[in-house]
Amino acid sequence: MTDMTYTRRHLLGIEGLDPLEISYLLDQSERFVEVSRGANRKLSTLRGQTVVNLFFENSTRTRTSFELAGKRLGADVINMSVGASSVAKGETLIDTAMTLNAMHIDVLVVRHADSGAAKLLSDKVNCAVINAGDGQHEHPTQALLDALTIRRRKGRLDGLEVAICGDVRHSRVARSNIHLLNVMGAHVRLIAPRTLLPARAEALGVEVFHNMKDGLKDVDIVMMLRLQNERMTSNFIPSIREYFHFFGLDYAKLSVAKPDALIMHPGPMNRGVEIDSDLADDVERSVIREQVEMGVAVRMACLDVLTAQSRGDVSGGAE
């Protein structure tokens, strides 16, 4: 059992975390992979703790993943989906947070359409906050589960060539992954049309490509990003057809990557938009389903680590 290395109160983003903290969270997650695969999946580590999933944006996967993670640890999990209607009624993000705070909850898992929303909440509440995606800023548990998936398959992160392809501009997943992979010693490439890259993308410490053939050459990992439909109407790209032609992942484009290159996607996939349907289901190459499995383990680890201090468990481990 390692000493607790992650001593922050919240998990708001990957930017600013050091390699030891990330490795610690990944190591903790490994143990929960085994728990989830075992016969007895229900622990009592978080018995008596309350986890609230506060989702201001629709999400099935992430919310379910957090819910399952909390329940497997024995916590009481409450899902709150706050639609646009509540906002229209005049209740602000902070009002909602203060209400929950008064109920003495232990962990707040928050997803919100605005960048910085999780940080804003964390300033106002007494409990631990996990950012489950804030606008176009960060989605730290996604980056951790991606890293765990890669590390289990490749045995390391250091020195790997990773290409992140698609709508980087609007992607919190891309930002969290860039920060994590950089700090863990991987080399990150971005592949996207210029309109789907954020301003001064190179400043994030990545190499930028505008075609798949150059960008995918000899990579170990291909991370595809979801393309939202509204990107067409706002003229970031002309059509799905054209996007898939140049930037959709298929066997032909993948052929320049390393023969054992893995394909990842944070889901939900748009088959035929950013990824060829057969390729997505190719068990030799695609680890997309494994990512989902790792997601539960990573979220169990995060819930465990962030509540360890308040539970008086300074070792931060599960029993």
Partner: protein
């Protein structure tokens, strides 16, 4: 605050700062009632029967003329009223405010112009003059009654925090206003390129916030400069924030076009890094720019390309700012920090003290043809006495403004307003 007209007052032992005469020297100033009657280095004693105010070596300058203030009355009195803005203004050494028409209802008819004038007169604090809307309801579609609004007292015409976006509308506005020799004031930002919430760059990428490129300012200014050249109109660009913008105006002035501009303290004292961890008090319009832009604004002020410094006072209540960054309102209060932050230009040796005072007094007064910003005998006795070096800290809790949304919260500053005089009456005296 006394409402009785004062008699003779002698301000002695002052460092006189008068941009109109270029005077920066020890001396004194005499007022009689509402008017300055004498000023100079030879005034060392008070005439018989005059009240004496010993300045103890502090600076005595014309009261500040702030040509960009959002007042919020009528319509949003919970954020600021004419009275609270008046209190804030005089605490900051401001004796004349020119307010934007973006109230609710907006100032696009004669009655609204008269309302502002009437309430401000009643308060008797800083003098208030309104801009009026360039287009009806600030919608950018139909010209407002520019001539009649000017007759009622509107100084110039603007759609406030919104750009006059349609080029035909701007052409007509410039052309029609020029009929009467009137000026159009533009918020120089192409709206189609200004959908973001902060400066576009590495920081916006890291924070996942949508950016506003410098292009938004440059394109609007380039367009407007062509329209000014074509119409011969008078044009003023408000709160210039980019290196490109400063340079475009510098070139346009060289060509002899009737173009002027101002900037506000955040654009020469802060850069985008003030946004930091989603600080909504640093969400301004135009956005805080890069360090290179900030330096270009400083240079523009020093070489006279930028004519004036205005506070860009934009009060917002807590509910408008305690939100995720993208949802929060734009703007910061500025009346009470205008002088202190501007003095940084002097303390950092970018400009002389007299130059800084000029950009805050005489130069903006001349832009709007106001008889203000000068110590010339015969002028209104609108004065500020301040200590240029005294060390302090920006403390929003002490603001008189109803809103506390300053981007300068906690900033160490040098300079302190000791006394503010409007029409001969001391309307603010520091209590320390």
């Amino acid at each position: 605050m006394s409402i009785v007209a004062p008699g003779k007052i002698a301000y002695l032992n002052a460092r006189l700062l008068d941009p109109a005469s270029g005077l920066d020297a020890k001396g004194g100033l005499l007022t009689d009632g509402e008017t300055i009657i004498a000023m100079g280095t030879d005034i060392t004693s008070a005439p018989e029967g005059a009240q004496v105010i010993d300045c103890k070596g502090a600076c005595l300058a014309p009261g500040l003329v702030d040509i960009r203030v959002q007042l919020r009355e009528p319509g949003e009195e919970h954020k600021e009223t004419l009275a609270s803005a008046g209190e804030a203004a005089v605490a900051g050494g401001v004796t004349t405010m020119v307010c934007l028409p973006n109230t609710e209802p907006c100032i696009d008819d004669v009655a609204a112009v008269e309302f502002v004038a009437r309430i401000a007169r009643k308060n008797g604090l800083a003098k208030v003059y309104p801009y009026a809307a360039a287009t009806k309801a600030l919608e950018g579609k139909e010209l407002a009654e520019i001539g009649m609004l000017a007759e009622a007292g509107a100084l110039a015409f603007t759609d406030g925090t919104k750009a006059i976006a349609n080029p035909l509308m701007m052409r007509r506005a410039l052309s029609y206003a020029a009929t009467f020799g009137l000026m159009i004031v533009q918020h120089p930002e192409e709206p189609a390129l200004a959908g973001g919430v902060m400066n576009e760059g590495e920081l916006s990428t890291r924070l996942g916030l949508s950016g506003i490129s410098n292009l938004a300012e440059a394109i609007m200014l380039e367009r407007d400069i062509r329209l000014v050249a074509a119409t011969g109109g008078r044009y003023h660009a408000a709160h210039v924030s980019t290196a490109e913008g400063v340079d475009l105006i510098r070139q346009a002035k060289k060509r002899g076009l009737k173009i002027t501009c101002d900037t506000a303290p955040p654009y020469f004292a802060l850069n985008e890094l003030a946004v930091g961890d989603y600080r909504t008090f640093a969400k301004l319009s135009p956005p805080l720019r890069s360090e290179d832009d900030r330096l270009a604004v400083v240079k523009g002020l020093a070489d006279g390309t930028i004519d004036a410094i205005a506070s860009d006072h934009a009060p917002q209540d807590q509910d408008s700012k305690r939100l995720p960054f993208a949802q929060a309102e734009f703007g910061g209060v500025g009346l009470e920090t205008l002088l202190q932050i501007s003095l940084e230009l002097f303390h950092n040796e970018r400009m002389s003290l007299l130059q800084v005072i000029d950009r805050l007094t005489l130069s903006p007064a001349r832009l709007l043809r106001l008889k203000a910003g000068t110590l010339t005998p015969g002028s209104a006795a609108d004065l500020v006495i301040f200590h240029p070096d005294r060390i302090g800290k920006v403390d929003p809790a002490k603001f008189r403004s109803k809103s506390k949304n300053t981007p300068f919260d906690g900033r160490p500053v040098q300079g302190r307003v000791l006394r503010t005089v409007v029409d001969g009456r001391s309307v603010f005296v520091a209590n320390d």
